[in-house]
Structures are given as C-alpha cells and as structure tokens.
C-alpha cells in the first residue's frame, strides 16, 4: 500500500519502515454527545464539556458506568459518528472538516480501533480476517502474523472460520487485527470484557510492546474490568 502524506499538519519523521507523518495530539474541546447536551450529570464528567488533550505516547483510561458514552467517545474519535457538540481536533484540525478519503488514510496509518462489537467477518478464517486488514496496510509479514497469533494463544485457530470461535477467542483475533497497521493512537473499547485475567495480561503485554515500538498513544475504555497497564491518565466519563 502506498503511503500518502498525512492530511493533518504534523512533524515528519522516519521510523523503521517508511516515511510517515505522525499525528501528535487529539484535543477535545467542550465535546458532549448530543443526547447528553441537556443533562446536568454531564457536568461531573472529566471529559464531556472540558478541554482534554491526549498526546501520542500517553496511555489513558476512560472509566465509567455503562451508558456514560464510552463507545460514543470511541465512535467520535474514529469518525464513525458526528452526533456531538463541541470540537475534536487532530493536531489542531477539526475532524468535521476532514474529507472521507482523509479518514480512509487515517484508519490505515494513524488510528487503530478495537471495536467493542469486534466487527470480524464470521465466514472468513482467522488468517483471512487478519489478511483483510494487513493486505490494506502491508504492515506485517506472514511470520509476524503467526507469532502474534501464537502469543495471543490462538495459533491453532489460524484456519478456523471466526464464526466457530468463542467470543473470547474472537476478541483476541480482533485485537491482533488492530495491531496489523501503523498507528499513532490505538483505541480499545472494553478490550478485555470477555477475557480472563491471564489473557488480559497477555494482551496488555503485546499492546504495550507494540505501542512502545511505534511510540503510539493508547486509549482504553472500561466499565470496571480494566486492561492491566500503567496508565498516565485515568479519566472518568
């Protein structure tokens, strides 16, 4: 896949693979989901209606009870939804002004997202699901993919259709897929909701290693079962 210049103004630097321009900050200015706009409880949030800046290389946790808007926040940041008030800026650029094609580029090179509902393709095998993303980004070699699967404990499921896996196994497949691209920020929406503590530890280790390698920021949401990681900041929604 050919690299195109990142559309948002940022510093250029050479990493180990190719010339990339990184996204350094994500800023939320007075952001609140439209449905919360009239509610007084939004005032108690450390994120909604505040100015919050997230930096590349920082690890942040967003905690809240169910229904406080964690998934909404992820959807806003990933450009899936626009039903919010306020402004979200990537390196100072309002994301509402980004063209659709700019979002394609962001999702391939700057933003990775582990969806809460996984969004895997059930009829395709584990390897095919990974290939679908990796073919697009051309980021991982085949051996790397195999070792990631092995690390996540699902190497034996490589050629099994995803629909036949347990939800916990599927969550790990989706996690490995989210590592099949370069990123400046990785969003993980309740990444360990279906995993035991031991598997949570494994994922945490893999995530940290990749984020450190890329110098990326980690944004995790949680309803209580949090991904074990030494967070720089913890926000309550």
């Amino acid at each position: 896949m050919r690299e195109r210049p990142f559309p948002v103004g940022a510093a250029a630097l050479v990493n180990d693979r190719t010339l990339r321009i990184h996204m350094e900050t994500i800023t939320l200015q007075e952001v609140v989901p439209s449905v919360f706009a009239g509610r007084p409880d939004a005032a108690a949030s450390q994120v909604w209606r505040r100015e919050v800046t997230l930096h590349r290389g920082e690890y942040c946790l967003f905690e809240a009870a169910s229904g406080a808007g964690k998934s909404s926040l992820c959807a806003f940041l990933y450009g899936m939804r626009g039903d919010y008030e306020g402004r979200i800026l990537f390196d100072g650029t309002d994301i509402r002004t980004l063209a659709a094609s700019a979002w394609d580029g962001l999702r391939r090179r700057s933003l990775s997202f582990l969806f809460q509902d996984l969004r895997l393709f059930g009829e395709l095998t584990v390897a095919e699901n990974l290939a679908l993303k990796n073919d697009l980004t051309d980021y991982r070699r085949a051996e790397e993919l195999d070792s990631l699967l092995a690390e996540a404990g699902i190497a034996d499921k490589r050629d099994t259709p995803v629909a036949q896996l347990s939800i916990g196994q599927q969550q790990r497949v989706a996690f490995v897929r989210s590592l099949c691209q370069p990123f400046d920020f990785i969003l993980l929406d309740e990444p360990v909701s279906h995993l035991d503590a031991a598997n949570g530890e494994v994922l945490s280790r893999m995530l940290l290693a990749e984020a450190q390698r890329q110098g990326a920021g980690i944004l995790v949401t949680s309803v209580g079962n949090r991904l074990p990681l030494s967070y720089h900041k913890v926000y309550t929604l």
Binding site: R119, E123, A131, L132
Partner: protein, 401 residues
C-alpha cells in the same frame, strides 16, 4: 481482492445473474443484428442499377381540356424549375430538351423497310441509367448515338414481330441495327446514321446526347431555342415521402411509371430495421436495469460487511472492485454472445439477400463490432459509477454530507 470476492460473493443471486444474462443477450443480439442486417441489405436498395432502386422521378404537367384547346401550357417555367430545385427532397433537376425540327427514321428488318416520324429528347448525362461507351457526339458528325427504352425492344419482340411474322431480336442484335435518319427544318434537309447504343429502364423516350440536340436545334430548329422543357427528371433522396406526394399533387405534376414503388421498399427496410433495433434497445435497457438492481440488492445485503470494510480503511473504489469486475465480465460475455449471434444469423440471411443484386457485396461487421464494444463500454461505465456511488454512501466519517 480474492478475499474481498470470497467475502462478498455469498450474496450473489444466480437467478438474477442468469436473468440479466438472458435479457442482455437477447436485447444486444436483436439490436446488433438489426444494425448489421440494415447495413447488409441497404446496398440492394441504393446501389445504381439495382432492381429495387427508385430515386428518380420523371415529372410532367397534367394535360387538361384547356391545353387541348391551346390555352395554357404544359411547359415548366424557369421559376417553377427553380422552386422544384429548392424543395428539400430534391437533389437535382434535369430538364428534357426536345428536338425542334422534323425527324423521320427508317430501318430495314428482314427485307422490309419501315419508316416513321420520330422525336428526340436529351437529358443531362447524370440522369441516365446506362453509360454506353459510344455516348458522345461530335458536332457535324453523321453518326448519332441513340438510347431507346428497353420496353420498345419488348414491344417489338413480343408484340409487333410475332404478329407480323418477323424474327425476334436479342438486345445485342438490336444495338447493331442502324437507323437512317432524315432531319429537316430551317430550310435544310440532311441524312444521318443513328445507332442504338443503350437501352434504358428509367427514361421512356428516345434519347440522343445533349451536344447533338443543341447542335441540331441550332441548325434545323425554328429559332425557338428558349422553349421551356415540358418534362423534367428529378433525383430525390426520399422517393416515397408524404411531403413529395402532396407537393406533386398540389402542383398538378404527374410522375411517370411506377419507379416510386421501389423507394417504398427502402422505406419499409428503414421502418423494419428501426423498429427491430428499437425493440433490441428496449431489451438492452431492461437488461442494464436488471443488472443494476441485482448489484444494488447485493450491495444492500452486504451493507454491514461493506461498512465494516470501509471502517477498516478500505476506499469505496477498492470495495467496489469485485462488483465492477462482475458487471464488466457479464457485459463482455453478453456482448460476445450477441456478436456471435449476429455472425450466425448473417450466415442464414446473406444467401437470401445475395440474389437480389448482381455483384452483391455485404458490408463488413466492423461497425457492428464497434457498436457492440461501445455499448459494452457504456454499460460497464454506468454500472461502475452506480456501484461506487452506492458504496461511497455507506462510508462513515463524512459528517453532514
């Protein structure tokens, strides 16, 4: 790409694809065949000397009681000729020039000598349907080439010769018969030798070259060189047009013979070919519509997957590719089938058309192939644009658009 196809093909409906293929093949085959057949058959109607030709009209004015009494004239005035030439259906007007002196001709057949008064006329050479080599006259020469109507030959062979016990003559022998001509007028009396050099189907008169008429009128005529023609020959592009018929009857002009029936055949051919092509086009449009509906239905059924692919960072163009390839592949298959059908049908009808004309040469299939390829291209572009638009609409991240 293979993965995308594997993921998206499960919503492909075989019944719909077969439906499109059938409608498309039938439509395209009808459309292209009517085009090819029109191009193949048209020469039969339009080539010179073809039996179905009819785009010349010989016009004269109706003779009424007034003219019989010597009032009025059946001549065409210069302004009438100009007006005629200005009509949209008229390509050229050629006046008949008549000889302005007395002619008597005599010929010897089988030991008998026939003598009769004759008349000569001429028309510009471009209106002749025969082009004999000897068709020219040097002023002063005693040899005069003559073209007579072919039906004079028939009249002689089947009417006169049989009833009088005279030998029937072939056209070749007829052309070797010499006619002794005596021209008199303007105080002069001279003999000439006439030779029949051609037989005309189109012109029902005794024709001599224009140069001879001009020269002899000056020599033997009564000086009435300015006399207007009483008959004109008209070359028309639309011999059977309503417009032509109504114009002629409004002016009181009469047409000679039934040459105009042939033009009706051309008209029929145009109508039939046009009608068939229209049906073919209708089928093709329906087929394009079916394919597009099938594609849209596939897109609709796959919309969740497509949205997820777009969320992974796929561009609509990439996601659309399997659908576009499917559509283009189908269009190419339909076009190839249709062209094969045209080729097959052609082998059936060409032997039927060939006897209608001597040295018949059918037009090639080049134009038809070109039209098929162009149609296939247009259909494919339409499909591709429609699919891409549909998929782009699924793309998240375009706020307020």
């Amino acid at each position: 790409m293979k993965l995308l196809w594997k993921l998206l093909r499960c919503h492909l409906s075989v019944a719909q694809v077969v439906g499109f293929a059938l409608a498309g093949m039938v439509g395209m085959a009808i459309l292209l065949t009517s085009l090819q057949a029109y191009r193949d058959i048209r020469p039969v109607f339009t080539q010179p000397d073809s039996i179905l030709r009819g785009d010349f009209l010989v016009l004269s004015k109706r003779v009424s009681a007034l003219q019989a009494l010597g009032v009025g004239s059946t001549d065409f005035t210069p302004s009438e000729l100009d007006e005629l030439a200005d009509q949209p259906f008229v390509a050229a007007v050629g006046p008949f020039t008549a000889a302005d002196y007395r002619i008597s001709g005599s010929v010897g057949v089988g030991g008998m000598r026939f003598s009769t008064y004759l008349f000569f006329e001429s028309v510009p050479d471009r209106f002749l349907d025969v082009a004999p080599e000897a068709w020219h006259y040097e002023p002063g020469s005693k040899e005069v080439p003559i073209i007579i109507p072919r039906n004079y030959v028939n009249l002689y062979n089947y009417g006169f010769a049989r009833s009088q016990g005279l030998p029937q003559l072939s056209e070749g022998i007829f052309q070797r018969v010499g006619i002794d001509l005596e021209l008199s007028g303007n105080g002069r009396h001279e003999t000439f030798r006439g030779r029949i050099v051609g037989l005309s189907n189109r012109l029902n008169t005794i024709l001599v070259p224009e140069t001879f008429i001009r020269w002899s009128n000056e020599r033997f005529g009564r000086g009435a060189d300015v006399r207007n023609p009483s008959r004109v020959i008209v070359e028309t592009s639309r011999p059977v047009d309503e417009e032509v018929t109504s114009y002629l009857s409004q002016r009181g002009y009469e047409t000679e013979g039934d040459v105009r029936d042939d033009g009706q055949a051309t008209r029929m051919l145009q109508l039939v070919a046009g009608g068939t092509a229209g049906i073919g086009l209708l089928f093709s449009v329906l087929a394009v519509y079916i394919l597009m509906l099938s594609l849209f239905l596939m897109l609709q059924k796959s919309s969740d997957k497509l949205r997820d692919l777009l969320l992974l960072g796929y561009a609509p163009r990439q996601v659309a590719r399997p659908y576009v390839r499917l559509a283009v592949g189908m269009n190419i298959a339909v076009t190839l089938f249709a062209l094969a059908a045209v080729w097959g049908l052609r082998t059936v009808y060409l032997p039927l058309v060939a006897p209608l004309q001597e040295n018949y040469a059918p037009s090639g299939m080049g134009v038809t192939v070109l039209c098929g390829v162009a149609l296939c291209g247009v259909m494919s572009l339409l499909d591709a644009a429609a699919v891409r638009r549909r998929i782009a609409r699924l793309r998240p991240g375009v706020f307020g658009k």
